[in-house]
Assembly symmetry: C2
Homo-oligomer: 317 residues x 2
């Protein structure tokens, strides 16, 4: 509790400790996180996603600088790709943000994508609440736009920004196509490049064809070209984000979005609890079933049913 | 049952229908898939993964051609990144494989990454079994090396090949670092490029430092440079895969790996069943809890506990 109060007073060490506890996701952490959830809810949460190489980390840095100039306190939760086995997060682009890191009005936290199913979404959204309670007014969640969990996290925000860049390879383009529809705002980065216009036109054409969710709510999805080199478009992006903030906070469609986020969060937290209990029980019950499966004397479906029955029997005394 | 027999006779339409049923994952499909599981187990399953832009799809095509020349029937299950919302798979590089597609000794199937948690792994491994039963002797599972599910699928094979390419961006390099440790065989593609040597040297150095799982089993992990343009290294890759086949099928460490795969598969199938039942129940119970969560009059942890209790009460009459 003292820790929460210190986080509320904006002490970075307390904020960091709480986020680490959220990442660890232990049963003891839950009481504090439950309390923080109920204290939070004021910040504008922006999800920023894009394929590898789209320049989204650079954009996040530039956007944070712009917001800082307006006096806004900015929290950044960056979900970094990491090894599912050794578990280490690779900081990569994060290093470029060191200028921001010395500004007390900015809090940057990298989180690794390892861990139990649904655990990353739960931990990331807990981290957003912690920053919210600590007084950060705009909180950016940055994820790489590959992987269902990553995309869902970027969508569990008030305003989702999808970053595209010109001139990426075929495979990257294919991945990109999968995330375009979640955008409230499109950014085309690297628009100092000559082929950026084409990317802008393609996106506008796609929007005219009525793809994406947002048109239903009366919000017209803007396509903003930005350049980290010339600074072009960054003010337009800040304006677009501000306009969408009003949609998110003051309209019926914003309220519905908040219900959707709550549903996603309840589902992820419950799934997490469910799988956690299951993982505790599986080691005790599974060994003979695994042998049968490896020997192909049983099949995955029947043995999975049997495993769930064994676990249920253990749980009900 | 007639469908299984027709698949066993190698009829492509029957194989395709069964894989579609595996993808749909309906309760009716399970009986057939359970039977197929017990009939399968002969094929050599190769997981091939690599970051976007590593050229793994091209490599898979070239490898399949080489194996075909040796008379091996080759099945390919390609997990394509796709939209988690609209659900369409984007074929992308798949189109390049059309030459192979006219060869009856090759079966290529693209699967989308949408669907319930764990569902993709379950469906992909069911598809491998279907191709196994249909007489394909080598089955390649190709996944993009981003996202925990994708990496786990590539690992749930007898032989895991990780494809690296020279000259990729920072962010891609960071993602790459996360998958190197799962390789039984490393491939450096595009080795006609002048900077490929550096990539080969880096990998060899990493292996000398003892990273990765395989050294423990006495298998010395090879680094094979390949070029899709000159054809260089493809024979070496076929040889390395053949040597690792012996490790996978004839050694104690291969047997342990098979147990690990069975454990992974049992866990994924059980998780899938668990989450599926949960999803069926959640709609009935969750609405008032979601309202509380959205209004922040409750917190995710307490409400998730409450949801699981409500569901448990519904299930036990």
């Amino acid at each position: 509790v003292a820790l929460i109060e210190r986080a509320q007073a904006g002490q970075p060490a307390a904020i960091g400790r709480l986020i680490s506890r959220a990442e660890a996701g232990t049963a003891e952490a839950r009481e504090a996180l439950a309390r923080i959830y109920q204290l939070a809810g004021r910040a504008h949460v922006i999800g920023i996603t894009g394929v590898p190489g789209s320049g989204k980390s650079t954009l996040v840095g530039k956007l944070a600088e712009k917001l800082r100039k307006k006096g806004t306190k900015v929290g950044i939760v960056a979900i970094d790709p990491s090894s599912p086995y050794s578990g280490g997060a690779i900081l990569g682009d994060r290093i470029r943000m060191t200028e921001l890191a010395t500004d007390p009005g900015v809090y940057i936290r990298s989180m690794a994508t390892r861990g139990a199913t649904g655990g990353m979404a739960r931990a990331a959204l807990d981290a957003v609440d912690i920053l919210d309670v600590a007084g950060y007014q705009t909180i950016i969640i940055e994820t790489v736009g590959v992987g269902q969990d990553e995309v869902e996290i970027a969508r569990a925000s008030h305003t989702t920004v999808v970053v595209s860049a010109p001139g990426l390879g075929d495979e990257i383009q294919a991945i990109k196509a999968g995330i375009l529809e979640i955008a409230d705002i499109h950014v085309v980065s690297k628009c100092d490049r000559s082929d950026a216009n084409r990317t802008v036109t393609d996106l506008k054409q796609m929007l005219m064809l009525g793809l994406g969710d947002a048109p239903k709510s009366g919000w017209s999805i803007p396509v903003v070209g930005t350049s980290a080199i010339s600074g072009e478009g960054l003010d337009d992006l800040v304006t677009a984000i501000g306009r969408h903030r009003s949609v998110a906070f003051d309209t019926e469609s914003g309220r519905r979005r908040r219900i959707d986020i709550a549903r996603f969060r309840l589902r992820k937290t419950a799934e997490n609890l469910l799988l956690e209990r299951f993982a505790q029980d599986i080691d005790a019950c599974a060994a003979p079933l695994v042998e049968q499966l490896a020997g192909r004397t049983g099949d995955p479906y029947s043995l999975a049913e049997e495993l769930l029955k064994l676990i249920a029997r253990e749980e009900t005394p």
